[in-house]
């Protein structure tokens, strides 16, 4: 099947043969004569804004650097950014400001990606081949985007802003030991109609370093992404169009397991995802008014299945079918430095899963407003709020935010912001009905737990309750208060700059599964509760130095302190203990020994050197990424991070790439990732030194 698909789409390439420009129109904007930054971003305010007037912590990954680094996986790209850490539990997630991956909202062209696993969108589902740029806003943005935007928003832009030039581009990359990525990008614009189309295909045979098991650390996979967009500029004022996306992926693996008679058996894993999205839009622009109507429909089908040899039941079976539709309108009015934004909309979400008893239908309406005043580019103040009205809850959720920027002079500016973020309880936390017979436990969502427990009680299957049953109640959203303060210093404007950001986020009502009852067979029953309180705080420092023309150096350092407030209280009360495994003495854990939340490095830094030589048409890109030691797992059984054995060692990645352009048309890229040969068993993408080779052909010369 794969071969047929490959033949068809390589055949398609051969017949079309055209070209594209290397730099998008967007990036041409950046490099204006006097190097004045005019970068336009859309994520911070949901309107097109100059980066120099944004009031919140924001960074952009430009296509130039994505191409120069030869990255295939989005996770690899994001991990090279300062202030970002990845998590690798049930797929790749991204942590912002020390907050877990489920508190990062991932958008593609401003629309949410549906189909989460344990609350996290797997980054591996998003291909890099068609990305124009990535915008990252840190701190809560629930005031514009609603749920999940507590730690921030990562908006992946695959569409150009502005005029689309005709282009046709083919690209193929190989990354050792086993990934081949290829893509075709085609843009065509005539009169009032423009058409953008990309096809990306990734393929991996998998890889296997530990030959004693059948499990491949790198799972063999195959995925296809097709993105299309047709836009019609009907007249000066009206633009309309439709975007389409299709994504298909399969993943296979094998693993050993012991059956009940302790025999070594082989289990087969098969994962399959189908995703389809269609998004028509309408935009009206007149003088100082912009009016948008956007509709977004997405359908997601997921199945993960583990079968064992001679094993009747499935070892693991997870099925999810989700349909999401959203309608949103937004009106922006700009005059004399004032910007007014009002938006309203709603979405409908339906889910069918083998782990949920009934089909779940939810809808939610929302309204948001934003006011921004820009006083002579010196003082910019932004205030806004979004109110959500969810069907599952009787209450509304308010997400206000205020932010400001003071451009003191050309050398110095300050950004300050404060606001709320929230994350709605996910379907699993509300409705899950899951019993793991192998490990012998059950988890019930908060909405169905009472009913399930009553059913078991009537069958005489409940031995006892761990908590009073009246305590089980509907979940409320997890909520945060956050503050950011950033200073920006330009000792030599447009040559040398520093930023330093302090952040603090406090999340309350964190949802966690806790033991609720014990079945008569000894199995534990868990239910979700709003229980915990955590805080994260830290500092992010960035420096950029354009040493000479074409040569730039950036450095970043990130410090994170993320702790569970309940744990701190229990330590204060002397309620947390640990046992020395050698002397068998028990001690009270001290505040100093508590290492905070698992799976995040306290210290991390990166250094990047980019050199571009226009005369000889080549560029080199060197990146050093260091992540300090991080909490890996609780070994001494007290459920917190407190002793040295519970940390995983820090690691450094050294990545280098070189791209040479011939005849302004052929780009040959060679690179070596992970030169220091770092390996981590549970990070599949970190399996030692890897090589990359790539070829990009621009069939159309952009300079013509």
């Amino acid at each position: 099947m794969l071969r047929i698909i490959l033949v068809i789409y390589f055949g398609a390439v051969a017949t079309i043969l055209h070209a594209q420009q290397v730099d998008s129109t967007f990036e041409n904007k950046i490099e204006t004569e006097n190097n004045q930054i005019e970068e336009i971003v859309v994520t911070a305010t949901k309107t097109e804004t100059k980066i120099a007037t944004t009031t919140v912590p924001l960074s952009v990954i430009a296509k130039k650097y994505i191409q120069a680094s030869g990255t295939i996986k989005l996770g690899d790209l994001l991990q090279e950014q300062n202030g970002i850490q990845l998590s690798h539990f049930l797929g790749t997630g991204v942590q912002l400001q020390g907050m877990s991956a489920e508190y990062t909202l991932i958008l593609i062209n401003g629309e949410p990606i549906i189909g989460k696993n344990a609350g996290v969108v797997d980054l591996d589902r998003i291909v890099v081949g068609n990305i124009k740029r990535v915008e990252i806003v840190k701190g809560p943005v629930s005031c514009l985007y609603g749920s999940d935007a507590i730690g921030g928003v990562i908006n992946i832009i695959t569409e150009d802003i502005g005029i689309i030039k005709n282009a046709l581009d083919f690209s193929i990359q190989y990354k050792s030991p086993a990934i081949v990525s290829s893509s075709i990008l085609g843009n065509y614009s005539k009169n009032k109609v423009s058409f953008e189309n990309t096809i990306v295909h990734n393929f991996s045979n998998g890889y296997h370093t530990n030959k004693s098991t059948v499990f491949k650390e790198g799972s063999p996979y195959n995925d296809f992404t097709i993105n299309s967009r047709i836009s019609v500029r009907a007249n000066q004022n009206i633009q309309t169009g439709i975007g389409l996306k299709y994504y298909f992926s399969t993943l296979h693996n094998k693993d050993n397991y012991l059956n009940s008679s302790n025999e070594n058996m082989v289990a087969t894993q098969r994962d399959k995802i189908n995703e389809f999205a269609i998004s028509p839009y309408f935009k009206f622009v007149k003088k100082n008014i912009v009016f948008n109507i956007k509709n977004y429909n997405s359908y997601y089908l997921f199945n993960s299945l583990f079968n064992g040899e001679n094993f009747n039941a499935d070892l693991y079976n997870d099925q999810l079918k989700q349909f999401f539709t959203k309608l949103e309108t937004q009106l922006d009015y700009t005059k004399n430095g004032h910007l007014f934004t009002v938006g309203t909309g709603g979405f409908y979400n339906s889910i069918i899963s083998n782990r949920i008893e009934n089909k779940i239908k939810q809808h939610q309406e929302f309204v948001f407003f934003q006011y921004q005043y820009d006083w002579k580019n010196r003082i910019i103040i932004n205030a806004g709020n979004r109110t959500d009205f969810p069907s599952d809850f009787k209450i509304q959720w308010f997400s206000p935010k205020v932010s400001a920027r003071f451009n003191v002079n050309e050398y110095f500016s300050i950004k300050i912001s404060g606001g709320r973020g929230y994350k709605a309880p996910d379907i699993r936390q509300q409705y899950l009905n899951f019993t793991n017979a192998l490990v012998n436990y059950s988890i019930f969502g908060a909405e169905v737990a009472l009913q399930k427990l009553e059913e078991l009680e009537s069958l005489g299957q409940i031995q006892s309750y761990s908590i009073p049953i009246e305590q089980i109640k509907s979940l409320v959203p997890e909520k945060s208060w956050s503050a950011n303060a950033e200073i920006e210093i330009h000792p030599i404007p447009s040559k040398l700059s520093f930023t330093a950001n302090y952040f603090r986020n406090q999340i309350t009502d964190l949802i966690e599964a806790t033991p609720t009852a014990i079945k008569s067979n000894g199995a534990l029953i868990y239910t979700y509760f709003n229980l915990n309180k955590v805080y994260t705080q830290g500092v992010e420092v960035n420096a950029t130095y354009h040493i000479i023309k074409g040569l730039s150096l950036t450095m970043g350092y990130n410090f994170i302190d993320a702790k569970n407030v309940e744990v701190l209280n229990r330590i204060k009360n002397g309620e947390i203990f640990r046992r020395d495994p050698i002397t068998l003495e028990t001690f009270r854990v001290s505040k100093k020994e508590y290492g905070g939340l698992f799976d995040r490095s306290k210290h991390s830094f990166n250094i990047k050197i980019y050199y571009e030589n226009k005369k000889h048409a080549f560029n080199t890109y060197l990146r050093v990424i260091y992540k300090g030691k991080y909490g890996w797992s609780d070994i001494n059984g007290n459920q917190i991070l407190d002793v040295a054995e519970e940390y995983a060692k820090g690691y450094a990645l050294l990545n280098f790439s070189f791209t040479k352009t011939f005849k302004n048309k052929y780009h040959i890229m060679v690179g070596v990732d992970n030169i220091l040969n770092a390996k981590r068993k549970y990070i599949p993408s970190m399996n030692g030194i890897t090589g990359i080779v790539g070829l990009t052909i621009n069939f159309l010369n952009p300079n013509k």
Binding site: V439, Q463, S464, S466, P515, I518, G522, L524, E575, I576, F577, R578, R579, P581, I582, L584, T586, F587, R588, S633, D634, I635, N636, G637, N638, Q639, E645
Partner: protein
């Protein structure tokens, strides 16, 4: 001269103190904390245990008052209620072993519809780590104060669930269902557990 006097004086005081100490009745020798390793709980039946004996007792004693508690896998029962003919019970304290100096006289929980030491991870005496290693770790800071079948008092803590008491056990590689406990037994019937 003054110094000499001071020294003589303090020596005299010390002499007095030591004298008075010698004349007071001899205090009971401090109780000894005993570590009993590798209590085998792998049988199809419970492994019965007596604090008085400081050792296991035979299965044939299961209907007598010769045992206080019994182990089977992660399950721990007491000689009372639904588990035995005695009135043994337990009070679970979150404390250091050395901090529990006195046994309460009341409040002992006996086995009933639920066990006196509840089962389940982080619910009774252990933490179950789950995949990948499935290790069972005794919870530190759980001290179990016991009223024995014969009405005496004892305290114990569980130190390991694996044979040979490995420093960092691995649930898949180490041999499980072997308890190591530390206990103090007060034979005189008093509540003193110092």
């Amino acid at each position: 001269m003054k110094k000499l006097f001071l020294i003589a004086f303090s020596l005299g005081i010390f002499g007095l103190i030591s004298c008075t100490q010698e004349t007071t009745p001899k205090p009971t020798p401090p109780l000894k904390a005993v570590i009993d390793s590798n209590i085998n709980a792998t049988y199809s039946h419970y492994q019965f245990y007596s604090f008085e004996k400081g050792d296991t007792v035979p299965f044939s004693d299961s209907t007598t008052l010769n045992w206080d508690m019994a182990f089977n896998g992660t399950k721990i029962i007491f000689n009372s209620g639904t588990s035995g003919s005695g009135t043994a019970g337990v009070i679970i304290k979150n404390a250091l072993f050395s901090e529990v100096l006195e046994a309460p006289t009341t409040g002992y929980v006996q086995d009933g519809a639920t066990y006196a030491i509840p089962s389940g991870s982080n619910n009774g005496w252990y933490n179950y780590a789950g995949p990948p290693n499935h290790t069972i770790t005794p919870l530190a800071g759980k001290v179990f104060v016991v009223k024995t079948s014969k009405g005496k008092y004892a305290k114990f803590e569980i130190l390991s669930y694996y044979l040979g008491n490995p420093a960092i056990p691995n649930g898949l590689l180490d041999i499980s269902k072997y308890y190591t406990i530390r206990f103090v037994y007060q034979p005189d019937g008093s509540t003193n557990l110092k």
